[in-house]
């Protein structure tokens, strides 16, 4: 590891002051950043430890939740209000990493984790535009079974690895930021950038800007929501495809019981494992609005979302896999109708 200095921020103002230092990076649980520093892919001159900042989950008067950015992933997943009002978020978090890592990882760090593209990690043997801008990408013509089919560019096809963010995208989460220019909020779906010509610029964060909290808006449809992750082994692996979904049908009085028919009143859908950022499936949602809750309309919506998918040599299977997983998850949320 390249030498660096370390400081523990006592509050947000302290963190911002320290974070303004040239070469400084904020440090959460360290589960991704420390690993990348050991590989010398990340080379911060200073780490500003922000794990002492807000780790509370606050109930908002409007029925939403405000989750401090230093809250550990396990603490979010086990929180009673999250489990009952936003089950998709608990399901997504416990589908990710391992329990030990979830005990360490913070919400802010999870959002800002880097891709697990093997070419990004292979500093000595591979070209990567994300690691070395302008160098080229060895994944595009390489082993790309795990790579993106949505949101990719000719410069980068790496996926965003987070499960938690897929649920946050579906829930319309709002990220609270503080920087030199003051406070602002950005929808989670606008926080990450698609790679375009600059895959090294992964978010809209300004230099030194800090994620302070994530807000879950009040969202009745989220009470009937879930997350399904498809991967090469049953646990402790990154997604090939994942689906976060919430569904409410017209005339749906008993949100916990099975539904026997009806039309789509409200739906939220997001995909993981297939895109360069946490992927809100806006097109599929639009295609589903007011439609009958049938396997046919679920499939048509999934196909609309994946119409522009760009498969590489080895990952074309993700189009079918994502389509089927969307249909299956929506079917599960109707109580098995589809």
């Amino acid at each position: 590891m390249i030498p660096f200095s370390y400081a523990r921020a006592v509050d947000t103002a302290d963190a911002l002051r320290l974070g303004a230092t040239s070469g400084a990076r904020y440090l959460g649980g360290g589960t991704n950043l420390v690993d990348l520093m050991r590989e010398t892919i990340e080379r911060p001159g200073m780490l500003v430890d922000v794990t002492g900042l807000s780790d509370t989950i606050e109930e908002r008067r409007d029925g939403g939740l405000l989750i401090g950015a230093a809250t550990r992933n396990t603490a979010v997943a086990e929180h009673r209000a999250v489990r009952t009002r936003y089950p998709v978020l608990t399901r997504a978090i416990v589908a990710g990493a391992s329990p030990q890592i979830r005990n360490m990882a913070t919400v802010g760090g999870n959002i800002l984790q880097r891709t697990r593209c093997a070419y990004f990690y292979d500093q000595d043997g591979s070209r990567c535009n994300k690691r070395a801008p302008g160098q080229g990408c060895d994944a595009i013509d390489g082993f790309n079974r795990s790579h993106a089919i949505l949101g990719a560019s000719s410069a980068c096809v790496a996926t965003h690895p987070s499960d938690m963010c897929v649920a946050l995208a579906a829930l319309g989460a709002i990220v609270h930021l503080r920087g030199a220019g003051g406070e602002r909020t950005v929808p989670l779906t606008d926080l990450h950038r698609v790679p375009g010509d600059h895959p090294e610029v992964e978010t809209v964060l300004e230099p030194g800007e800090l994620i302070t909290a994530v807000e879950l808006p009040a969202l009745p449809v989220a009470a009937r929501s879930t997350y399904r992750k498809v991967r090469d082994r049953a646990s402790y692996a990154f997604a090939l495809v994942s689906v976060a979904a919430a569904l409410e049908l017209e005339g749906d009085a008993n949100i916990r019981g099975p539904i026997t028919g009806g039309t789509v009143k409200d739906v939220r859908l997001a995909l993981g494992g297939v895109a360069t950022k946490p992927w809100r499936a806006w097109r599929a949602e639009e295609a589903l609005a007011g439609r009958p809750a049938t396997r046919e309309s679920f499939r048509a919506a999934a196909e609309a979302e994946l119409a522009d998918a760009s498969p590489l040599r080895e990952n074309g299977f993700k189009i079918d896999l994502a389509t089927r997983t969307i249909v299956a998850v929506l079917g599960e949320l109707t109580g098995g109708l589809a």
Binding site: M1, P3, F4, S5, Y6, R8, L27, G29, G30, T31, V34, D35, R38, L47, D49, T51, T74, A77, E78, R83, T84, P87, T90, R91, V94, A95, A97, S98, P99, Q100, I101, N103, M104, A234, S235, Y236
Partner: protein, 169 residues
């Protein structure tokens, strides 16, 4: 700056690059905690920090100022093996033994999570207050600890015998 390790106050290293794992092994000479992959993929380095299981290879020691760490060396009670350690022997929960300290610390932390009602990927009802630690739950909750000898059946049997009745009850 100081940290408690197995009940003793210890000085933290001056170099912030030192991982909690290397600090335990190289500075405090507590060699029970093992270095497997050193990149958060195997679980061999699992220790308990304030009772929670974490991966010491991905932890910078300096981040744990003021915290309390428990390693495998402190698992026995008054010189007697922890009940979980005895169960590992009875059920052949290891072959080479390299992953065992991590498995044991992880299982202790796992049991605490289950007592708190932390759900897992295979928990059917997220609103349930208590967790029933059946084999599917145990396998999922221990999936962060790899055993390349493949002693999984013995490991799960040992953990089930030690904790299943207690947590479900």
């Amino acid at each position: 700056m100081s940290i408690r390790v197995n009940g003793s106050a210890e000085e933290l290293p001056g170099d912030p690059r030192v991982s909690l794992l290397d600090y335990l092994r190289e500075h405090l000479l507590l060699h029970g905690t093992k270095k497997g992959c050193d990149q958060g993929a195997c679980g061999a380095c699992t220790v308990l920090v304030d009772g929670q299981r974490v991966l010491s290879c991905l932890a910078l020691a300096i981040q744990y100022d003021g915290r309390s760490v428990t390693t495998i060396e402190a698992l026995p009670v008054d010189g007697d093996l922890h009940p979980l350690q005895r169960a590992f022997i009875v059920h052949d929960g290891f072959q080479c033994g390299y992953c065992t300290p991590g498995q044991l610390c992880s299982a202790v932390g796992m049991a605490d999570e289950a007592r708190r009602g932390v759900p897992s990927q295979v928990t059917a009802d997220l609103s349930a207050e208590t967790i029933e630690l059946g084999y599917d739950e145990l396998r999922e909750r221990m999936s962060g600890n790899l055993c390349r000898c493949g002693a999984y059946n013995g490991i799960i049997a040992a953990i089930a015998e030690t904790y299943a009745a207690e947590v479900a009850g």
